[in-house]
């Protein structure tokens, strides 16, 4: 990894750790390995959104050319949002693409993602199915997003297991109906 990238990440790390948002448990960054190329981010779902109460894990990969190129970020926690793929977690956000600027930091990226959760942009979707639902059926969208937050981003592992069992049950029923 290029020297400037590593030196900057080290400095940014301290910045995020010291920042106010961390004190309020809204954002977090952790090292995955000692090379500073891969990090694990965490953001809290913003209040008054279907993501409230959820904790969303992010995979952050730092390119050699950082900060001249943006970090590669995707959601590890499954999330129901028009600008985030419900399958892969890929994010559609301008500052992670062509609107990146070298003065942006891990902290501003995490805060921008939090803002994205609070204000979706359905006209520039990453997940067409979710975006369609968001526009045509806001009530069902809200409920689905809330359900996904509860199941995948909630702190109770029990919810996840129950959900998996439910899915298995539904599959079994579907198969038995089919045959």
């Amino acid at each position: 990894m290029a020297n400037i990238a590593e030196a900057r990440i080290k400095r940014e790390f301290k910045e995020v750790v010291k920042s106010e948002e961390v004190a309020k448990c809204h954002i977090k960054v952790e090292l995955v390995n000692d090379t500073f190329t891969e990090l694990r981010g965490e953001i809290a779902g913003p209040p008054d959104t279907p993501y409230e109460g959820g904790n969303f894990i992010l995979e952050i990969k730092i390119p050699d050319t950082y900060p001249f190129n943006p970090p590669k970020v995707k959601f590890v926690t499954k999330i129901w949002h028009p600008n985030i793929s419900s399958v892969t977690g890929a994010i559609c956000l301008d500052i992670l693409k062509d609107q990146w600027a070298a003065a942006m930091t891990l902290r501003t990226v995490l805060l921008s993602l939090q803002a994205l959760l609070a204000a979706a942009e359905p006209d520039d979707p990453q997940d067409a199915v979710v975006a369609k639902q968001y526009k045509e059926n806001p009530k069902i969208f809200q409920d689905t997003a809330k359900h996904w937050t509860h199941i995948f981003a909630g702190d109770s592992k029990v919810a996840m297991i129950t959900h998996m069992l439910e899915l298995k049950q539904i599959k079994k029923i579907a198969i038995s109906h089919h045959s």
Binding site: I4, R8, A101, M104, T105
Partner: protein
């Protein structure tokens, strides 16, 4: 760098083989053309647009023109040396390191200051201020008009 070292080792081998040092040197002088060829793919890398990086020898004509213009514009941006009492910030927002006495700085028209090397690298990719996003060419024009 790697190529220089390779050329050096080829030289050394010929020195070992040749009974006379002078002879060996002549042989080593023989193959510059292949050496030149090997150097070609390691030409300096340019960034015609933020996510495109290309060695200089593979640039299209349009990209070459764009880069040449960009280099010309960057040269016109004022430079200086950090004197320790600059009021325009003490840290480079790109590498996030504090300015050290004697380091070369570049001043953008929007009054943001960076290390010369840091900002020149960025400006080749995007001609905007990384801090305020102000397009540098537009700001350059207004600063010409006002002065």
């Amino acid at each position: 760098m790697g190529n220089c070292l390779k050329a050096q080792s080829a030289d050394d081998i010929s020195l070992l083989r040749g009974s006379e040092t002078q002879d060996g040197n002549d042989q080593a002088l023989g193959p510059p053309p292949p050496y030149q060829e090997r150097v070609a793919p390691r030409a300096p890398i340019y960034y015609p647009s933020p996510n495109v990086s290309r060695p200089a020898n593979l640039l299209t004509e349009d990209e070459q023109v764009k880069i040449a213009k960009r280099l010309g514009l960057i040269v016109h941006l004022p430079c200086g040396v950090y004197d320790g009492c600059s009021k325009k910030g003490k840290e480079c927002a790109i590498c996030m390191c504090d300015f050290v006495m004697g380091e070369s700085l570049r001043f953008l028209p929007c009054m943001h200051t960076y290390h010369k090397d840091c900002i020149d690298d960025w400006l080749m990719r995007s001609f905007t201020c990384p801090s305020c996003m102000e397009p540098v060419d537009a700001a350059l024009l207004t600063s010409y008009e006002t002065s």
